[in-house]
């Protein structure tokens, strides 16, 4: 007799536990307001990445097309993957002496692991995080970027950007 009671109670317990689970899913079925999906390309206008989002490394330029990069090469040294290459050139300054300035700050986005060491260690705070995250391209050479804009010059003094 005992085992018979046990048999039937086990059935009812089982059904009750199953019903508890079905209540959870059923609740979500009747409340479509809980939907959390983000419809990505459509919500581009409203999609705002968090400030400091690590999209890519950029070099901020001001309105006079000037940046802070002195071409010291510390970021290149600190990068663990070799995704930064600094090419410098020597041009004469006002006094006529040749001075080393940045020619090309090459950044290989394809190799970057977003560790933030270049930005962190830059003594003149010339680098920053860009918010752009749509990096997909058809040709991988397009992922190699030159961070300083053509014709840009070094901003000698002034507040940080």
């Amino acid at each position: 007799m005992n085992s018979v009671i046990k048999y039937f109670t086990s059935i009812f317990k089982g059904i009750r536990s199953l019903w508890a689970g079905m209540r959870v899913t059923g609740k979500y079925f009747v409340s479509p307001g809980e939907i959390v999906t983000e419809q990505y390309p459509e919500n581009r206008a409203t999609l705002k990445m968090a400030e400091g989002f690590k999209g890519e490394v950029i070099m901020p330029h001001d309105e006079n097309n000037q940046h802070h990069c002195t071409g010291c090469g510390i970021c290149e040294l600190n990068c663990p993957n070799g995704s930064i290459e600094i090419i410098t050139k020597r041009i004469p300054n006002e006094e006529g002496k040749p001075e080393r300035v940045i020619d090309k700050h090459i950044y290989h986005l394809s190799m970057c692991t977003f560790c933030e060491l270049c930005i962190k260690t830059c003594p003149s705070h010339a680098l920053a995080w860009g918010q752009d995250f749509e990096h997909a391209v058809y040709d991988r050479t397009k992922l190699t970027k030159v961070l300083n804009k053509p014709g840009s010059t070094l901003k000698k003094e002034g507040a940080l950007l």
Partner: protein, 375 residues
């Protein structure tokens, strides 16, 4: 004693019915290959074949500075990225004898627990999916998203946020960090009962996990199974308790232990750990002191000659970092004792004699992250 437990001789025969689970298989959660010998539905033996995503992190670390190692340790157990980083940071800090600011210690603890929660969310999702309850996956991911949003706001990335650096943090956390963490704690306290109704109390789930893959405490000790998997067998191995680091010695929290050692008790340990993490978070969030986010460090860190070891509790168990330094700016040798490596090799002992479906349940309950095995 333990040698006897570990010893398992596998005799391969020609007529064995071998099924290769993996390297691409839904239930191995990554590129792990299990060579499973079946007898009907039963598993005779299984041999794990690892190394499909070996990236040589230990070797690469030998040519990286201590700051640069951080971005590699992120990628070992990517679900406990923060704890992995912390292990290296603590090792370096202890070697240099640096005292990090209190604020850093507290924030590290908060991040530890948030990462643990995110990791357990993913484990819960995937475990349910392994057992065929596909909806759990989306509920777990939904809640994990909230943690990742907190990460993204403060560190700029969601998964691999190389945020710890030797000496402190990369930069200060977002002003809303504490507020959003508390919001998440309140939110998740409401969702946790649903987890219980949906899976924990489910009769089918009980049948699938109770008494499956029983790992006695001796086996856990012999194989070095740590973390929630070990604590499910009653092996008190929580590094946060055994060898506290950060401010864990100042916080009151329970070490979750279950004695049964089956898949269900491993499951329960993780579920209760989630609750305990919420308790810790509630306790700690308001106590974060103001102050500096990093100690003063030299630009180039050189460890004095010697050997250094530091262990931390990741979401999956005990991670040990062993650094040999010859006084240069690169480590001479660095070795990681990764929890998943030990946790994987108990699989044959547990799954032997069970069914294929049990193998999947056991594999899920051990919560393996394959990149951590291969490193």
């Amino acid at each position: 004693m333990s040698e006897e437990i570990i010893k398992n001789i596998i005799v391969r025969e020609d007529e064995d019915y071998i099924v290769n689970m993996g390297p691409q298989h839904p239930s191995t959660h990554g590129v792990l290959r299990l060579e499973v010998c079946l007898h009907g539905e039963f598993v005779n033996y299984l041999i794990p074949h690892i190394g499909y995503i070996h990236r040589g992190i230990e070797k690469m670390s030998e040519s990286d500075t201590y700051k640069q190692i951080i971005h590699l340790t992120d990628r070992m157990d990517y679900l406990s990225a923060h704890m992995n980083n912390e292990a290296v940071c603590l090792a370096v800090e202890n070697a240099l004898g640096i005292e990090v600011p209190e604020r850093v210690k507290y924030i590290r603890v908060i991040l530890d627990e948030l990462t643990r929660l995110a990791s357990h969310h993913l484990w819960w999702s995937a475990f349910g999916m392994d057992l065929g309850a596909l909806t759990t996956f989306f509920y777990g991911m939904r809640d994990r998203e909230k943690v990742l949003a907190i990460f993204e706001e403060s560190f700029g990335s969601r998964l691999l946020h190389s945020f710890n650096i030797p000496g402190g943090l990369m930069h200060d956390v977002h002003p809303n960090f504490q507020k959003h963490t508390m919001e998440f704690v309140r939110y998740f306290r409401k969702k946790l009962p649903e987890y219980k109704q949906l899976l924990t109390d489910n009769i089918i789930f009980h049948n699938r996990t109770k008494g499956i893959g029983i790992m006695p405490c001796e086996t856990a000790v012999a194989f070095g199974v740590t973390g929630p998997s070990g604590r499910g067998s009653g092996f008190a191995c929580d590094v946060r308790k055994v060898a506290p680091y950060g401010v864990y010695d100042k916080i009151e929290f329970k070490e979750i232990l279950h004695e049964e050692g089956d898949s269900f008790s491993r499951y329960l340990v993780r579920m209760e750990e989630m609750e305990e993490s919420l308790n810790i978070l509630e306790h700690v969030v308001d106590q974060v002191p103001e102050g500096d986010y990093t100690a003063r460090m030299k630009p180039i860190i050189k460890l004095p000659e010697g050997e250094y070891f530091q262990r931390v509790e990741t979401a999956r168990g005990e991670l040990g970092v062993y650094i040999v330094s010859d006084g240069k700016k690169y480590p001479y040798r660095i070795k990681f004792r990764s929890p998943n490596f030990s946790n994987l090799f108990v699989l044959n002992t547990l799954a032997k004699g069970g069914k294929i479906a049990d193998l999947v349940a056991i594999c899920g309950s051990l919560d393996l992250v394959i990149p951590d095995i291969d490193r």
